[in-house]
Symmetry: C2
Subunit: 326 residues, 2 copies
C-alpha cells in the first residue's frame, strides 16, 4: 500500500480539464499498489483511477501497457481502459510524474481464493492470451530468464543473511534454468503478475483483470506457471492440486496447452518461483528506512521452487495427459 | 494516512449483510485519517465510508459522535450520516474492532484555503453550533484546559530535546491559561478539529463537514479559536487577517459572538494553540518504529501561540468592535 505523492485538489481539477471525463467530485488516495500512487476519483461521469508512476516503470513502457489495456478491452477482456486526454494522449504529467487515468472496475480481489476463483482466472488468462495475439507492440520481459542473474548480483553477497545457504541454492537454480530454459514455446502478450490482488470478482464471477505494468511479450505458458504459484498454494505453502486442476482445466478450454507447453510447465513454474524469490529478496534486503510496506517473505518462494523441482510431470498439477484433465 | 487493518472481501460482505445499503461492489483502503482504518465502499446503493476504530476513540464515545452526525444532518448541516444496521445499531464489530458505516460525501478539502473557503467554514461552523443546541447527549472535552497538564506530563521531561526552553515555555503558558481560562462563556456542541482536511468543497461551495471523533461539549468560541489556528495562518506561519475576517464575519452572520466571547477570543486561540502543540509534541516524541505517518511539527504551534499572546484585542483578528466587522 502506498500513497507517495499527495496531489492538491486545485492541481487535480486543473489536470482533469485536459480530459473529457466530467467534473471532479472527490478523490481519495488509496492504499493499493506498492510501486505507484493511486487515487480513486469520483466525477460526474463515474469512477476512475488516477495513477502517478513513481518508479520501476519507465515512461517508455507506459504506452505499451496502456495501449494493451485498451486493446484487450476492445476485444472483450474485462480490464480498465485508459482515458485519453484532449490531445489524444493516454498519459501526461501531474505533480512532476507521469500520470494516467483509467476507468474504475467494480469488484474485489479474493483474500481466500477457492477453486471457483481459480477457474475464473484460468479462463480469463487464456482469453487474454488470445485477445493479445494481434497486439502490435512489443516489450521484452525484463524479469524473464536473462534478467534473473543481474537481479541476483544485487542480492547475492547478502543472500545468506536471509537464510543460510541461500546464495548457493539460487546460484545452482540459475545455472540449471539458464541452461534448460525452453526456446520454442508459443509466445505472446502475458500479464506476468496475475496474483489474486490483480483479479476482481463480484461474488464468484470474475469482473476484471487489473494492474498491467509488468505485461510484456514472453512465453504464454510462463504466465500460466506464474498463476500456479500465485493461486494454487495454501498459506501453509502446501500445493492445492484441486485449485491447479481448476485453473489449468479452465485455461485449456479456451486455449489448449500444447504437449511441449505441458511438458515445460514444471520448469516454467520453477523459473517463475525463482523470479519472485529474486525480486522479493532484493526488496527484502533494500527496505528503505521508514518504509510504508512490510517486505514480502522471499523464503515463501524457496518452498514453492522446491515443490516444482520435485514435480515429475504435469500430472502432479492435476493434468493426466496431454490435453486431458483428470 | 493509514490503513492499519486489512479486511477480507469475504468478511466485509458478511458484515454488510447486517445493513440495508445494497450489494457490495468494491472497497478500497483509503489514505485518510491517522487514527483509524478507513475504506471507501461502492455498493449498488451508492458510496459509503467504513471506519474501523483503532485507538484513542473509546467505544463509549462512539454513540456520541455517530448520533451527533445524524442529529446535525437532520437539521441541515451537511455531514456524513451513520448507517444503522438491521438491529438499529450505528456501529458493530468487524475484524475485532468497532466499525461504523457512513454515507460518502462528495467534495475535496482545499490544500490552499483562501478567504472564500474561510467564509464557508465560518458559516458552517456557526450553523453547526446552532444545530447542536438541542443535541441531548453530553461529552466532556478531554482536550480542553483540564486535559492539558496530564498531556504535558507525558512530554515534559523530553520537551527540551525538541526545542531548548520548550518545557519552561509550556509550563508558564499552562499556568497562565489554567488561571485565566474563561468560565462563563456559552457552551454547546463543538467539532474541536475543524482543520481544512475535515471540510469538503465543490468548487468554492462547502459540501460538508467530516470527521467528528473529537466532537464534544465545550465553549463554542473555543471552536472558533481552533478554526483561526487551522485556517488563518500561511505556510510561512504568518497570520492572514483577511482570512480571519472572512471567517469571523461569516460566523457572526449566523451566530453573533457576544462581547465576552470576542474579548476571550485571543486567550481561547492561545489555549487552542497549546492544545495542538501538546498533542503534536506527544506524538512527535512517541513515533513508533516503522510508523506510516510523519509526525507534524509541534513548533508550528509555538509560533501560533506566540502570535496570539501578542494580540491586543479581537481587532487584530479583523473585528473592529463588538459585533462589527472591519
Amino acid at each position: 500500500m502506498a500513497v507517495y505523492t499527495d496531489v492538491a485538489a486545485e492541481d487535480l481539477a486543473e489536470f482533469l480539464k485536459g480530459y473529457d471525463i466530467g467534473e471532479l467530485l472527490s478523490y481519495k488516495g488509496i492504499a493499493e499498489g506498492v510501486e505507484n500512487s493511486n487515487f480513486l476519483l469520483h466525477t460526474s461521469n463515474g469512477a476512475f483511477i488516477l495513477t502517478l508512476y513513481e518508479k520501476r516503470v519507465a515512461v517508455d513502457d507506459l504506452p505499451y501497457f496502456l495501449s494493451l489495456m485498451a486493446h484487450l478491452a476492445e476485444r472483450g477482456v474485462r480490464c480498465p481502459q485508459p482515458a485519453r486526454n484532449r490531445k489524444g494522449e493516454v498519459y501526461s504529467e501531474l505533480a512532476g510524474r507521469p500520470a494516467a487515468v483509467i476507468n474504475f472496475l467494480e469488484g474485489m480481489w479474493p483474500r481466500r481464493p477457492n477453486a471457483v476463483h481459480c477457474t475464473g482466472v484460468g479462463e480469463a488468462l487464456a482469453k487474454m492470451h488470445l485477445a493479445g495475439r494481434d497486439f502490435p507492440m512489443f516489450r521484452k520481459n525484463p524479469l524473464s530468464v536473462e534478467g534473473w542473474r543481474p537481479l541476483f548480483d544485487l542480492a547475492a553477497p547478502r543472500a545468506d543473511s536471509v537464510a543460510p545457504g541461500l546464495q548457493d541454492f539460487i546460484t545452482r537454480e540459475l545455472d540449471h534454468l539458464e541452461a534448460c530454459w525452453p526456446k520454442d514455446l508459443p509466445l505472446g502478450v502475458i500479464h506476468a503478475d496475475l496474483f489474486p490482488d490483480n483479479v476482481f470478482f463480484l461474488g464468484d464471477k470474475l469482473s476484471g483483470l487489473i494492474d498491467f505494468p509488468f505485461s510484456c511479450n514472453d512465453i504464454l505458458a510462463y504466465d500460466v506457471a506464474i498463476c500456479l504459484n500465485a493461486w494454487c498454494f495454501e498459506t501453509d505453502h502446501s500445493f492445492n492440486v484441486t485449485k491447479a486442476r481448476a485453473l489449468l482445466n479452465a485455461y485449456g478450454r479456451e486455449r489448449q496447452l500444447s504437449e511441449a507447453e505441458q511438458e515445460a510447465l514444471p520448469l516454467l513454474a520453477r523459473g517463475s518461483a525463482l523470479r519472485f524469490l529474486l525480486t522479493r529478496l532484493v526488496d527484502f534486503l533494500n527496505v528503505p528506512p521508514g518504509a510504508l510496506v512490510k517486505p514480502k517473505d522471499p523464503l515463501e518462494y524457496v518452498r514453492k521452487l522446491r515443490f516444482h523441482r520435485n514435480v515429475a510431470s504435469v500430472r502432479d498439477y492435476g493434468l493426466t495427459q496431454a490435453g486431458c484433465v483428470a
